[in-house]
């Protein structure tokens, strides 16, 4: 829909110029943002792809040797890669459903009428506004093996007999961080699902209860279909972000103890940061991105429909 129906009082020459201007203007208005993103996003990405085909270690800057796909072949024989992949999958399949369920419960509650609803709605989103570093710090203090409140509470209730070093124990570290990330991300689901709930017409429920439908059947046949679209979009988005997020893990354990909290993006980051191996690190980043691409494309297709 081109809405350029400006009256033209001038002669034919300036009319042609105006027509040209109308064609160029949208692109001219767009070009600053597009050019800058090309320079600071797409150009660096190509550089990552380029680095991944080289043997590039930062403390030997003279050596930038073409190795073709060698880095990629190495990845598949790298035990740490498989460990990290395993953790990444665990990380996603536990965190995202946990966030979704807790978010759904919260949204259903927030959709009820009770006097302090506005307050509850404002407070529930707080975890989301906090810097991940602060979240990591806060939970590290809660998990602290000597003075942490979690051990303290569990000891008092009698669930534990001795305190557990949650983050230093290879068996619990990953799950402790998963709980932290669930805490950080469930408000996102709550807010999104709440928006979905509020778009369901009240009359559906009225009609259903006239017909004698139980609350459970109302939930199953009206509420769930009504929010399925929002829920699916939220799950896709959240899967992408949970998969990508590594700052909380990095601050809480740095991947340790051993490799017990390595995920793929973290492995790639640490390979570059600690070992300064930018070639191999880039190859890891590329591999991880390609794995994620399926979900990203699914999400973009849904958004493309929404744009129209």
């Amino acid at each position: 829909m081109t809405t350029t129906s400006v009256p033209e009082q001038e002669g034919p020459t300036s009319g042609r110029r105006a027509a040209l201007w109308r064609q160029v203007m949208p692109l001219a208005l767009l070009s600053p943002a597009v050019l800058v993103t090309l320079a600071i996003v797409f150009f660096p990405m190509i550089q990552t792809a380029w680095m991944s085909l080289h043997n590039y270690v930062l403390f030997r800057p003279k050596n930038f040797d073409w190795v073709g796909l060698q880095n990629y072949f190495n990845i598949f024989q790298d035990e740490v890669f498989w460990i990290s992949l395993h953790h990444t999958i665990l990380w996603i399949v536990i965190t995202v459903p946990a966030q979704a369920l807790l978010g759904l419960a919260t949204a259903l509650l927030l959709n009820q009428k009770f006097p302090w609803r506005p307050l509850a709605r404002a407070l529930i989103i707080i975890p989301w506004a906090l810097p991940s570093v602060v979240i990591a710090l806060m939970w590290a203090w809660i998990y602290d093996s000597n003075y942490g409140i979690l051990n303290d509470l569990l000891l008092r209730v009698g669930i534990l007999e001795t305190s557990i070093p949650w983050l230093a124990n290879p068996d619990t570290a990953l799950y402790a961080i998963i709980l932290t990330l669930t805490w950080q991300g469930f408000p996102f689901f709550a807010v999104m699902i709440l928006a979905g709930l509020q778009s369901i017409p009240q009359s559906y429920y009225e009609a259903a209860s006239l017909d004698g439908a139980t609350p459970w059947r109302q939930f199953w046949h009206i509420t769930l279909p009504g929010i399925s679209g929002v829920l699916f979009t939220a799950i896709l988005l959240r899967t992408i972000w949970v998969a990508n997020s590594m700052d909380v893990i990095f601050v809480m354990t740095g991947g340790g103890p051993g490799y017990s909290t390595y995920t793929l993006p973290l492995y790639s980051f640490l390979e570059a940061r600690t070992n300064l191996n930018f070639g191999y690190g880039s190859a890891l980043a590329m591999t991880f991105t390609l794995m994620l691409l399926g979900i990203v494309i699914l999400y973009l297709k849904r958004s493309a429909k929404a744009v129209q």
Binding site: Q23, P44, T106, A120, V134, W183
Partner: protein, 277 residues
Amino acid sequence: MALGRKSTLNRVLTVDLPMLAILVFTLGPYLWMLLTSLTAESELFTRGPSIFDLVWSNYERLFANVGFARNMLDSFIIAAGTVVVGLTLSVTAAYSFSRFDFRFKKVLLLQFLLINMFPLVLLILPLFVLMRQLGLLDTHFALIVANSTIAIPFSVWMMTSYINGIPKSLDEAAMTDGCSRLQAMRKVILPLCAPGIIATGIYIFITAWNEYLYALTLGGQNVRPITVAVQTMIGEYQVQWGLLTAGGIVGALPATILFLIVQRRLVGGLTQGAVKG
């Protein structure tokens, strides 16, 4: 009357109490951190945090010894710079997306969404190499550029959806009255967008303020934003949880307050998938 009391009790049991439980889970860790930060370091390991004698000593030490004020200034410069870059570049682009039809419009719009889906590592490695070659490591400029990779796509989406909500007839009326297209944009649409621009700007500010991995990689001795400062403290003062939690509270405060102010507006952008979670 009896019925009314029964339904109130019912509501308390099925709504208020579960909601309260979720809120305790949500706010508990934060309040625990707050309480810890207000407890004297010497008491922390003997009696534990308590609400009965609160002290400011951790905060005083934070600003006197650790030099937290400078870190906050760094964070502020970077966040404000990112807001300026993000908004200037995105407002005209958003206007163009909202008002014109041109070839590849959808592809261009979706590529902005795509950017936010890529893992940060994919960008962090090349940006580090690039800034190192240009000698820009450890400058505010490098971090503003890095944060703009998140801010530009986000604000293009936010602003496009915001301008979409302003009727096209307003531009047309202005142009019938003799304004050019650009004048219509500047004099009619921009003022109407002000709330959207402010909300977007605040959100960019929060994201840039909270950002950590870029700050860690591209910052250094001279430029050390608050998030990196807090993380460095974890290494240095592992046992001084009072000081650490005080740092956490101060570091999180600006973003939390701004967030509570604009949260309603952000829900719109969120449901469109533009807000990074």
